[in-house]
């Protein structure tokens, strides 16, 4: 019962979604965290995963890149099974990943960080690098400096730039706004939405659930390693039950949540 969902309605002609996760079971060693998670990211969609700690948000993303042990289920990229693929193959197939913590190489220069993003690619990189520089003018200013000297927001930009230089069609982001000041959170999320609008499908794990939802098309709410609710972003934001339980909204209060 595959349902293709997306901004653009997909008709009868079966076009595979950008990313499709089915009944994923994954964890670390003997500890199972994801216990049957399914989700779909349509082409050009921006999808957010929210849920309490230990619900399997990050594990789902990590499982795709082999950082968590997959014990069941499947992961498909544009209809092709990529479960257990090596990282270099994944990048070549057009999937990018920005981990949560430690997502830059601090003693490498900004330029070298971006170059590492294209490590598995061949041919001329100058054009790609140029493109990324245009996308993040701030980075261009600090191009030759050590990445370790960047501010928190700039580090996230660099991490995005590193993933984007490989020109992925799908981008996985694990809490890109963790530890950032509130003003910068919006800035980074807006930038991510910008990237999404340019045609990159995005799967995003976020703690800043409300802010993330405002920039997303759809969202999955996970609990105890399983799917709990799936809805459009607007639907979730206006759902009073979900709002109270998962987003920390009480009545009209719109403080950002910290679930």
């Amino acid at each position: 019962m595959r349902v293709a969902v997306g901004e653009n309605e997909v008709g009868e002609n079966e076009v595979a979604p950008a990313l499709e996760i089915a009944d994923l079971e994954a964890g670390y060693g003997p500890t199972l965290i994801a216990r049957g998670i399914s989700m779909v990211v349509g082409k050009g969609e921006m999808v957010t995963i929210i849920g309490p700690n230990g619900s399997g948000k990050s594990t789902t993303i990590k499982a795709i890149f082999g950082l968590a042990d997959v014990t069941g289920g499947s992961i498909r990229l544009h209809g092709e099974d990529i479960t257990g693929e090596r990282a270099d193959r994944l990048i070549a197939m057009g999937i990018g990943y920005v981990p949560q913590a430690g997502n830059i190489f601090p003693t490498l220069s900004v330029r070298e960080n971006v170059e590492m993003g294209a490590f598995t690619l061949h041919g001329d990189l100058d054009a790609r690098i140029e493109k990324v520089q245009d996308l993040f003018p701030l980075l261009r200013e600090r191009w030759k400096g050590n990445a370790g000297n960047l501010s928190g927001g700039q580090r996230q930009m660099l991490a995005l730039a590193r993933a984007l230089v490989a020109e992925p069609s799908v981008l996985l982001l694990d809490e890109p706004t963790a530890g950032l000041a509130p003003q910068i959170v919006d800035q980074v999320l807006a930038q991510i939405r910008e990237i999404n609008r340019s045609g990159v499908s995005i799967l995003l794990v976020e703690q800043n659930a409300i802010k993330a939802l405002r920039h997303s098309d759809r969202a999955y709410v996970l609990a105890r390693g399983r799917n709990f609710v799936e809805d459009t972003a607007d639907g979730l934001l206006s759902n009073p039950d979900i709002g109270r339980v998962f987003l920390g909204l009480s009545g009209a209060d719109e403080e950002e949540s910290d679930v």
Partner: protein, 362 residues
């Protein structure tokens, strides 16, 4: 309960010393004390270096040999988180391979024509690449047999270091089993030292005597270290090695083959060790199976001085350690050199635990 240790470590804690001094003499007083201490230490150092110019120059040269060993050691330390205790024995292995080349591989007569002002013949240039290649391959094999298995198992750095101690002991045993424990000599022809007389501020004449071989060794050390620098900063795989050293998990999800960068680290580390061992033996004129173990102390002192995992820091650290070791012989028995290095390690850890250049890594 038992807080003697706390007290002691407080005594050795810079901030605590600072606070205590400030409470007595105030901020200004502390600054004055700091400044005068710096001037006194710096002044003494300059005085010692200048009056012992002969030793200083030779220290620079010895330091450059240490540098060859220390750069490789630091690279392995930084990239694989392994304080490779077998590094000195890799150096010894390289030197014995060179000895084998001189003794059995090339016609004996080839060893006779020494090059220019140096004591060695051009056969050194045959022995050097063979030794480097051999030890690089050896280091890779040991990695595949021992360290890779342990990495996969997620062994702690301490256990890996212990394994490298085992490798060091076993390697030395085999070297001694094959070549014996006698002092060996590279083929050499006696040559005049370079001698310069320096008129020091018109006050006294200082005679600087330098063995020609040491000049060659120092130049080779600088060239090899610079080549390493170029490789690490200018090539794709060199950058990947640095990336893997920086953040291994991220390197892996970026598609960098970390097993391959590990192997490259061993190729460079092992090759540099062999070059260091061969050049060190050439410079010293003799070769001992134990020297690999003995040289570990100045090498680690250099690595600590340069900041662990910083190969260029290790180069500077090695020069620093080499000069300290040589200049100390003006007052101390030369056999005390290891104790001087030990003292240097202790003082560095107290004053600058992140190395002389203080670039701290989180």
């Amino acid at each position: 309960m038992f807080n003697v240790g706390d007290r002691l470590s407080t005594i050795f804690n810079r901030n605590a010393i600072r606070d205590a001094v400030i409470s007595v003499v105030g901020e200004r007083g502390l600054m004055a004390i700091e400044r005068s201490t710096l001037i006194a230490v710096g002044g003494f150092a300059i005085w010692a270096l200048v009056t012992q110019l002969d030793l200083t120059v030779n220290g620079l040269l010895v330091g450059s040999v240490y540098a060859l060993g220390a750069v490789g050691l630091s690279l392995v330390y930084g990239n694989l988180h392994l304080p490779n205790i077998a590094h000195g024995d890799y150096m010894t292995l390289g030197a014995f391979i060179a000895l084998f080349v001189f003794g059995s591989l090339v016609p004996e007569a080839w060893n006779d024509n020494s090059v220019g002002p140096f004591t060695f013949s051009y056969t050194l240039f045959i022995a050097l690449p063979i030794g480097v290649l051999f030890v690089a391959v050896f280091a890779v094999i040991v990695d595949q047999l021992v360290y890779r298995t342990m990495r996969r198992r997620g062994a702690l750095p301490g256990v890996m270091a212990l394994a490298s101690l085992g490798v060091a002991i076993a390697l030395r045993g085999f070297i001694q089993y094959i070549w014996g424990t006698e002092v060996e000599h590279f083929p050499r022809e006696s040559k005049q030292f370079f001698i310069w007389t320096v008129d020091l501020l018109h006050l006294q004449d200082v005679i600087v005597r330098v063995p020609p071989d040491m000049i060659f060794v120092a130049v080779a050390a600088i060239v090899l270290t610079f080549a390493t620098y170029l490789f690490l900063n200018m090539t794709k795989w060199g950058k990947a090695m640095r990336a893997a050293a920086d953040n291994e998990d991220l390197a892996r999800v970026t598609g960098i083959d970390v097993e391959r960068t590990n192997l490259l680290t061993w190729v460079i580390g092992g090759g540099m060790a062999a070059a260091a061992g061969i050049l060190f033996a050439a410079g010293q004129g003799q070769l001992l199976t134990i020297s690999g173990w003995k040289i570990l102390i100045p090498l680690f002192a250099a690595v600590v001085a340069g900041g662990i995992g910083n190969p260029y820091g290790a180069f500077a650290g090695a020069i620093f350690v080499g000069v300290i070791g040589e200049v100390s012989t003006a007052w101390l028995d030369p056999s005390y050199k290891p104790a001087v290095f030990f003292a240097a390690i202790i003082v560095l850890l107290l004053v600058r635990p992140n190395g002389l250049f203080g670039q701290s890594r989180s």
